[in-house]
């Protein structure tokens, strides 16, 4: 099916906005200048959008296609927590729900729909007295645990630095309140290490990075100082079409002028120092640990785990969880998509054996997954 054709009306509507049209015209001019000056190594400008929310925004607005028509190609990055959560975690969560009696497994919605070995948590008949409960905010588990003292309550979560402070705060409160029937089954990721892995790996040529707006809200632009080493022009951007185009303009300026490598185009939300209170609670409760990523493998220090003082809050210890090295569904290339090596439509399962109704991998499940974005909106 020609998704590009389907998306035309939305894209045309986008470009009818005079602000957007003006910004796109400006972008074309600057791109041409950079190209003529020989400052672009390839035919197109290739930018990785690190964050899954940007992936969705780019596709939903039709901007991904409008950009590609003008020689700017976006490549999805690793910033989709549900997508990078390894299969072994889903496998063990399914096992807990199925086998463990009197358990409440609380989680954000997306993880429930990721299949492991063809089984999704939402479809598993829970053991006697057990249930799965969707929560909007992690702190809801405090009340669930206190109201149901005869149940073991587990918060299953995955997230980057945007989500980690809320989870760390909840862990801290659980510790202070001495709630004994509450544990945390977490896959908490840092954004720095996978970006370093991708930049070091060099599998994909990147001319710029669109940095994650809301991770930056927590860790600040200071959190991206490490990018200096690679000298990749980078901009922190907001989530509207206009915000994203402005971030691309900034990236083009950096390429043109060779000035500072990270600029903030989302100043009303992102400060240089981020949110110190949020970083304090993260650092108090959690410490860097080696963690497994789908598609990227084990990356040293790229995760966050409970410090020794709080180790009893870890569901892995309480329930003797040992994640098997489960391999993703046969033919699923989600891992390659997450490294920016492959575009979703290039996967043999895409749109055929793998659809939103019957997903084979997490990139088609997550509301921020690149495969889902491409399936729904083309580009």
């Amino acid at each position: 099916m020609d998704w590009r054709g389907l998306m035309r009306p939305i894209q045309e509507e986008l470009e009818r906005s005079t602000v957007v049209a003006g910004l796109l015209a400006d972008m074309e001019k600057r791109l041409e200048r950079v190209r003529e000056a020989g400052k672009l190594p390839g035919p197109e400008l290739r930018i990785m959008e690190v964050c899954g929310t940007h992936t969705m925004a780019l596709h939903r607005t039709g901007l991904a296609i409008a950009m590609r028509d003008r020689g700017v190609e976006f490549v999805s990055g690793p910033g989709c927590p549900v997508c990078v959560t390894p299969d072994g975690v889903i496998h063990e969560a399914v096992r807990l729900v199925r086998e463990r009696e009197d358990l409440v497994l609380a989680t954000f919605g997306d993880l429930l729909r990721v299949p492991s070995g063809g089984v999704r948590m939402k479809d598993v008949p829970p053991a006697k007295g057990s249930r799965v409960q969707v929560v909007f905010s992690p702190d809801e588990v405090l009340d669930i645990a206190r109201n149901e003292p005869s149940k073991e309550v587990v918060l299953l979560s995955s997230g980057f630095e945007t989500t980690v402070p809320a989870i760390a705060w909840t862990m801290k409160r659980a510790y202070e309140l001495g709630i004994e029937n509450l544990t945390f089954y977490s896959s908490l990721f840092r954004i720095k290490e996978p970006m370093e892995a991708i930049l070091t790996g060099g599998e994909v040529r990147l001319d710029g990075l669109l940095l994650p707006g809301h991770v930056s809200m927590v860790i600040g632009t200071d959190g991206f100082e490490f990018l200096k080493k690679w000298n990749v022009p980078s901009a922190v951007g907001g989530f509207s079409a206009g915000n994203i185009i402005r971030a691309v303009l900034v990236i083009l300026d950096i390429i043109d002028q060779g000035a500072d490598h990270v600029r903030n185009e989302y100043t009303w939300t992102v400060k240089a120092g981020g949110n110190p209170e949020a970083m304090k609670v993260m650092d108090e409760i959690l410490e860097p640990v080696d963690i497994m990523w789908r598609g990227l493998g084990l990356i040293p220090h790229s995760g966050l785990g409970l410090r020794e003082q709080y180790a009893h809050l870890d569901a892995r210890g309480r329930f003797d969880i040992q994640e098997p090295d489960v391999h993703e569904a046969k033919g699923c290339r989600c891992g390659d998509v997450l490294r920016g090596v492959m575009r979703p439509p290039q996967c043999g399962l895409f749109g055929k054996a793998c659809t939103p109704e019957s997903p084979r991998g997490p990139c088609m499940v997550s509301s921020e997954g690149s495969c889902l974005a491409h399936f729904l909106y083309g580009g």
Binding site: C51, F160, W169, G213, V218, A241, N275, E277
Partner: protein, 72 residues
């Protein structure tokens, strides 16, 4: 997952929670991580926690742009 939603603090409770109004709907939000928050402030929320205090005009612009992008 990393979607942030801006809203206005319309009730500030003493227990670290607030009612944050988004498009006319009040959402219970923890404000422990933005200790300087005041009644009437605009905040960026994520998974039930306020994570940053915003400039009001910018927050309104963000909200309309998010709606335009179909993200909320």
């Amino acid at each position: 997952m990393c979607l942030g939603i801006p809203g206005e603090v319309v009730v500030l409770n003493k227990d670290g929670t607030a009612e944050v109004q988004v498009k006319g709907v009040n959402v219970r939000t923890r404000v422990d991580l933005v200790p300087d928050v005041k009644l009437g402030d605009w905040v960026m929320m994520h998974t039930g926690f306020a994570l940053q205090i915003l400039d009001k005009e910018d927050a309104l612009e963000t909200l309309s742009l998010l709606e335009e992008a179909g993200l909320i």
